[in-house]
Symmetry: C2
């Protein structure tokens, strides 16, 4: 089997430990996917990712379509070969850019026309072309072009976004079926569905229910990283999860503080991605067992201890907080690099620890231990 | 012996292979010293440097004095400990900044007063204080505060620069002797002399001759990276080298294309430093066995071969030119990092290859082979 998902253990509350099979290798779940938008996880090499224990890396169709172009990636042998990573990958569709680059987009019933954020040139994305682009990119998991409702939009707009998302997904499936889900390098590609619905429980329920009828390889909860408060976000996530089948992988798109990961895993999420560990690293924030640390602060200037004494990454074993602060304060590239390395290591170690706890039937105590310590430091 | 130098082999023309002993370890010579101005070789980790075979790393007193402050470095246990590098280090004095930051400096007979390039605050550097700062930094080799003549300056200015450089060196030696050349961490530190003299052969001869009488641990040829043409520069270098004793290490400050390194080694230089491999890497230029390569060029867009097929560094074994070009064109941090890694690896491999050739009595054929290939590619 070239693509599949199995659950190995499950807690009474619904957290699960499993395994995702892909043509580029198996991925233990729950897992955090480092974000490599332009086929590079910012500042990190592929050997950094391997050493950190990354299992699957995300990239973005919209950005790779613009540069270097999907044809270059295809000629390289697909995203895994092009980037040197070699392992499992997932490509986001560009749907998120409909929101994040909204002023450059015109949405209509059949697709989206946008001007490039680089040179203003006009491009057309349809559900079909986005599947074709991802066929060229050759990621193991494709995401369909969707329409995330703008947060706070009136109910009729949310309903239209839901309707378009579902209609476009049907078209994406048809396009996928044209090559029987096979990439340009001849490998099987999974297609996930994205359940939107904004922050309205009824709309989310409707979206998830309709989606499941289409029998996809996996299901994602989308639109939840758009800045609503934690309570509303988690409620919306739970409604979606309640309507997804247990035998398919579940992916929470784009959100994750360390607390979000633990909470999401408790609710039965298998896959996460988020720019926080790398983006915040470039802004001097480290995630540690004791909580978030701001390396700009004077209190670290003469701290010759490690960033996180429980961490075994290169940053924590080779360097001190004092030195990391010096790098950050002087704007040296190595600062962003070493903090990115640590943060990704921290995130992957977190999901690995929780996974082992689930397998050993110790999830609740692991969760209490992790969250109990997190917040001891809070810069 | 905590500091020393021995020559292991010598060619008829004067190239030599040797060994520099320091309290932080032995350094094979000839060697290239990667430049870590602010206690970091830009974009590279200490494990990168170790894997590239770095033997000794350079840092800058002026920059470290400003940030993080010499006291922080001392409390960390000195530069080698602070930076995580652990191995031999050399600190430049800040003399070069008298030229490069001239508009912020006022030079007088006893020292230099400058305004910080960061916040405009006023600071005073004297030959004595600069030795004291370097004692706190604890590098294995200290460089004295000198006065490089401004290129193209009239003869009387060059003469004054020579006179001050020599007078300040005497004061540096006195300050060194106050602690018998011992750093704040209790290790012996070498002090080199710097032979200036601009591009006037007579002035360079005078500077070198006077310097040698002071019996220093090593001698540097300074002021030669300031942009004169190759012919004049090499002539000025040769005059200096002609007057330096054979039993001490010789350091050519701040210049080095790959051709400069091979030429300098042929003339008997033991130590080099230069920002080219790291600075140019951040500007998309790679140094390869075939010559300089500009990764911005379209011709690399679909080149799925390695950057340098003769190189065994991580960049050349894990990534393609196509991917490196993509990183460079999209401004991704990983691009500057991977090119810096390769360039430093290339430089260190170059001096290592030449050293082995000297030891095996094959220097001339190695030189011809290296220079013969270099230039096959020339972006």
């Amino acid at each position: 089997m070239s693509f599949g998902f199995e659950t190995l253990a499950r807690t009474p509350g619904g957290a699960r430990a499993g395994r995702l099979r892909t043509p580029h290798g198996d991925v233990p779940t729950p897992i955090f996917m480092p974000v490599g938008t332009r086929a590079t996880v910012k500042a990190l090499s592929v050997s950094d990712l391997r050493r950190a224990g990354a299992g699957i890396v995300l990239a973005n169709t919209y950005h790779l379509y613009l540069r270097p172009g999907v044809d270059v990636v295809r000629e390289a042998g697909g995203l895994a070969a092009f980037s040197g990573w070699g392992g499992p990958t997932l490509t986001d569709s560009g749907g998120f850019q409909i929101v994040s680059l909204a002023r450059l987009c015109e949405l209509d019933e059949t697709g989206v026309t946008f001007r490039s954020h680089l040179d203003g040139s006009r491009h057309r994305f349809t559900p079909e072309s986005v599947v074709r682009f991802q066929r060229e990119l050759g990621a193991d998991v494709m995401m369909p072009l969707d329409v995330p409702p703008v947060p706070g939009a009136p109910a009729d707009e949310t309903a239209r976004a839901n309707r378009l998302t579902l209609a476009w997904l049907r078209r994406s499936i048809e396009e996928r079926d044209r090559t029987e889900g096979t990439s340009s390098t001849g490998r099987r590609q999974a297609l996930f569905g994205i359940a939107q619905g904004g922050f309205d429980p009824a709309a989310r329920r409707e979206a998830a229910t309709a989606l499941v009828e289409l029998d996809l390889d996996g299901y994602a909860a989308g639109g939840l990283s758009l800045g609503e408060d934690k309570g509303k976000t988690r409620e919306a996530l739970q409604v979606t999860l309640d309507h997804l089948p247990a035998d398919r992988p579940r992916y929470l798109m784009g959100m994750g503080t360390p607390e979000d990961l633990v909470d999401g895993i408790a609710r039965g999420v298998d896959l996460f991605d988020c720019v926080l560990p790398t983006r915040n690293a470039r802004n001097a924030q480290a995630f540690t067992s004791g909580g978030p640390v701001n390396l700009r602060l004077e209190r670290h200037a003469r701290d010759f201890g490690p960033l996180d004494s429980e961490c075994r990454c290169e940053t924590c074993t080779e360097y001190t907080r004092s030195y990391l602060r010096h790098l950050v304060k002087t704007g040296e590239m190595l600062g962003g690099r070493l903090l990115s390395l640590h943060n990704v290591h921290y995130y992957l170690n977190l999901v690995r620890t929780v996974r082992e706890a689930i397998l050993e039937g110790e999830f609740e105590s692991a969760r209490a231990r992790i969250l109990g310590r997190y917040g001891e430091e809070n810069d």
